[in-house]
Symmetry: C2
Subunit: 185 residues, 2 copies
């Protein structure tokens, strides 16, 4: 079940470096793209950074709306995560092409994708230099959600293989999130 | 064995989101700190971003030298990765405290740590606003190295559990890099 995550804990949803799917919407159009270059930037207020390349349809929609959602897909979406990085949403509606189910976000216009383990609703912080020079977007996390079967008491668990997160290596080869180990304190 | 990685492939060394150890050196002092917030920023020329908090000894050394190394530790260094995030190198030499072996980097003054799977030698790109407002450092990757038992033909393999990379969740709980899966192309 999707449950709200306190914003000060939102960084935990991406701290282990999963590859994400970024959804966006503006002017009646929407898109989804794969994004491995997404990282937490601050705890409280919660911020993240994401690389959104110039020339992509996602860039157009994010620039127009000032919003996006970072979805953390599970292994169920393996083929989609790879495919969504290979084609442009300008040419086709990837939600229809890949039979992706969505639901409404709580604050932003971009949709939340099903078969994900976590969702971070984001509003862009205007940083023109970083966007133009590095394709790097700073964003405030304004709402965060997780699947309570996978994210329990503020820590990830992966009860089944299909619930594991995906971490892109290259060319469609991913590693899944592995075993949990604990350091001596 | 440590082998050179072409710079255009350096992003692959951190694309799966491992937690890293950042080493730095200046004026006869050196330090090592844990850093989960490190991410590739560009392919060619290779760039990355890293959050290096204000007030840390690493920040002092990186600011003084304009250099650092992103080391990608294996599970052998589990306890060290956690411990190195808990104390300041201003108070003690963490290399001695944790019995860390090092070797010289090829270009920068910061050392390379043993028991790691990859190393990215970095030179800071002067971006004062990003550093001051977000503690975010942009850097050029000027040399890259990987253990050729773990990084083979441009893709990670993890032949033994102790060779897996570490991905911090929180409070000393990590996941290790898991199984390799391939998407349909």
């Amino acid at each position: 079940m999707r449950v709200s995550v306190p914003l000060r804990r939102a960084y935990k949803l991406i701290n282990h470096g999963p590859t994400t799917l970024i959804t966006s919407a503006a002017g009646g159009r929407r898109n989804v793209m794969s994004a491995a270059w997404v990282m937490a930037l601050d705890f409280d207020p919660a911020k993240l950074v994401a690389v959104i390349a110039a020339g992509t349809f996602t860039r157009t929609l994010v620039t127009a709306s000032g919003e996006f959602v970072v979805n953390v897909p599970t292994a169920k979406l393996l083929d989609t995560v790879y495919a969504a990085g290979q084609v442009s949403g300008l040419d086709e509606d990837k939600f229809a092409a890949y039979s992706l189910s969505t639901s409404e976000a709580s604050i932003v216009g971009a949709p939340l994708l099903e078969d994900c383990a976590a969702w971070l609703e984001c509003k862009v912080v205007p940083e023109a230099h970083m966007q133009e020079r590095y394709d790097l977007f700073v964003a405030d996390v304004v709402a965060a959600w997780a699947d309570d079967a996978s994210f329990v008491d503020g820590v990830w668990r992966f009860p089944r293989d299909e619930d594991r997160t995906l971490h892109h290596l290259s060319s469609g080869v991913f590693i899944t999130s592995g075993d949990i180990v604990k350091a001596k304190s």
